[in-house]
Symmetry: C2
Subunit: 349 residues, 2 copies
């Protein structure tokens, strides 16, 4: 037979950042789809919605009234999965039933007072205000002795469990370091100890030479489809400078982050001409008082769509019981994203 060709033959790829594998089946992308079709909503929203609990001046479920904010606005989630004041304690029966009390805080961040916008429809200076708020929140929460990890993220679109279209993200900050950043700590630390450089610096260097998975760049950030991407159009935003967290970003770097987020999310929307659903989030050093020179700030984008606005990738069955699996290759996806315009399809109409 011919020699191994990663554009044709099934293979596994190693996620150097998490230490896990993904099964890639490039030959499978021609499989017909007869399953569930997602709805595409005509996304026509008013600039202000009197029934939205995130719009300025409105009353929230807990009874509080939102200020008439003009850029960003942050508050404690009225139904947070994490709460402060949890009595310490736990369960341990023979190592088989083990539980530990967990405390923390869940915050909601409104990106804009405008109910009808999303990140790709906002101006760069407005996204910069979101970045500034992330920095403030990371600083304050990270300084608390009872908070050792701060997870900043956004769920966008009903397909990603987002229950309110008002542009917003969340922060869950807690006592322990969750599994995903814990795995990334292990991998990054091992690499740093061996090479004296961060794993993502060296990885970025290779990707910038090869170019095939790079989507966009600016002076301070690079967006690429990682070699080990699980989701069809998954990307990672990597800081060129090996900083551990957002507080270390210069003002120029914060602007550059806002710029790259705007350009990336416009490309996503343009890919299938819809408001592109995803979960996205920053991964940063644990706020456990250690230095963490091994940590390299980055942001993951995990979008579920596969072939069109209505056909998504399901991570089910084999994926839940075995390993994640993908059909189209990361290189193909990067090409598709590179092709997109940076003028939002709605603005172009």
């Amino acid at each position: 037979p011919a020699s191994f060709d990663s554009t044709e033959h099934p293979h596994r790829r190693f996620n150097a950042l998490s230490g896990e594998w993904v099964l890639v089946s490039p030959h499978r992308s021609k499989r017909p789809w007869q399953g569930q079709q997602e709805e595409t909503e005509q996304d026509q929203r008013p600039a202000y919605d009197p029934t939205c609990y995130l719009c300025p001046g409105n009353v929230r479920v807990g009874g509080e009234v939102n200020p008439k904010y003009t850029d960003t606005f942050v508050f404690n989630n009225d139904f947070g999965a994490l709460t402060a004041d949890v009595p310490t304690g736990g369960i341990n029966e023979g190592g088989l039933l083990r539980a530990e009390a967990e405390s923390g805080v869940c915050r909601v961040i409104c990106f804009s007072p405008r109910h009808d916008l999303t990140l790709p429809q906002m101006e760069t200076f407005a996204i910069r205000k979101v970045v500034d708020l992330w920095v403030e929140e990371f600083t304050t929460l990270g300084a608390r002795p009872d908070i050792n990890y701060v997870q900043i993220f956004e769920n966008k679109g009903p397909m990603m469990g987002c229950s309110n279209p008002h542009p917003h993200g969340q922060i869950w900050a807690q006592r322990t370091v969750p599994g995903e950043p814990a795995k990334e700590t292990v991998q990054q630390l091992a690499y740093f100890q061996e090479h004296g450089r961060t794993l993502l610096s060296d990885y970025l260097k290779i990707e910038l030479e090869k170019k095939e998975r790079v989507v966009i760049e600016n002076e301070h950030f690079v967006v690429l489809v990682p070699f080990w991407a699980v989701w069809p159009f998954e990307t990672i935003v990597i800081a060129r400078r090996p900083v551990q967290d957002v507080t270390q970003l210069t003002s120029d770097e914060r602007d550059a982050l806002a710029d790259i987020l705007r350009r990336l999310t416009i490309r996503y929307d343009n890919l299938f001409s819809i408001s592109f659903p995803y979960s996205a989030g920053l991964h940063q050093r644990p706020t456990d008082g250690q230095e963490h020179p091994e940590w390299h700030l980055h942001m993951h984008f995990y979008p579920p769509l596969l072939r069109s606005a209505t056909v998504r990738k399901f991570m089910v069955g084999y994926e839940m019981l075995g390993d994640p699996q993908r059909d189209i290759t990361p290189e193909f996806s990067a090409g598709r994203l590179r092709e997109q315009s940076e003028v939002h399809y709605k603005a172009a109409q």
Copy 2:
């Protein structure tokens, strides 16, 4: 403050089988839901559908004609994610870009010739034929030197990415051991080496004493909501005897497995009076030629629904970037499943 109470306070639970954690937020179950509602389809199907590529006598996408089978039927997936005859090879650049060719086979198993049935609507003797086929397939595939792991599973319902309602499951068998069973091997081996008994034997013993998470039992199997369940109504089916794989089951045990699967899936359908979606699959020893005395046969059920037929749990945002999270406790879910009748709601109408 009061002392720690796992029915009220946020906490983390350790999955002794995988070595990972889940965040439990029991106080959060009262949160209002304004997000995406799933469709419930009126599930009225004919016993035979001339357009179904799994019905007896019909032509498949690849051109082959299905036999006029009368109980189960198995064939190679026309669009398998794994294929045989993959040239060996791979990529390794500084440990950062790593890929390996992967080979294997994807099989499709029709559970019944009847297009209109699902497992909970089948008779126990018919489910026993499915169990027998699993045994045959595990034996044949597992004996191949190029196959070191055999994953048997079912995706049920469009919500779980299932593209054809004809009752069927799949088998993906491959050269390497995927991540999930690999983690379970690590945990089970460590336990076995320390205690000389399988992890699941000791775990089952504790659960049978406590009863609060047990759903149903028969002579040879127990179904319970694991202490570390991630999905709202997740269950695990555990063999009472610590066997490593299905080939070691006696004829009585195979009958008992069919019985417990029928009773469990009826309870699932009755919970919200719909054809209950899930991904389910057997976890068994790798077929790598080793003995694996640490392995203990079990089956996972991962159903996505949370509160009703239309409100599901989304594993997004925090879950993708941090840890899986659940609202209702496993003990609550076990109680709800215990309450259900074992007469299928459609038969009862």
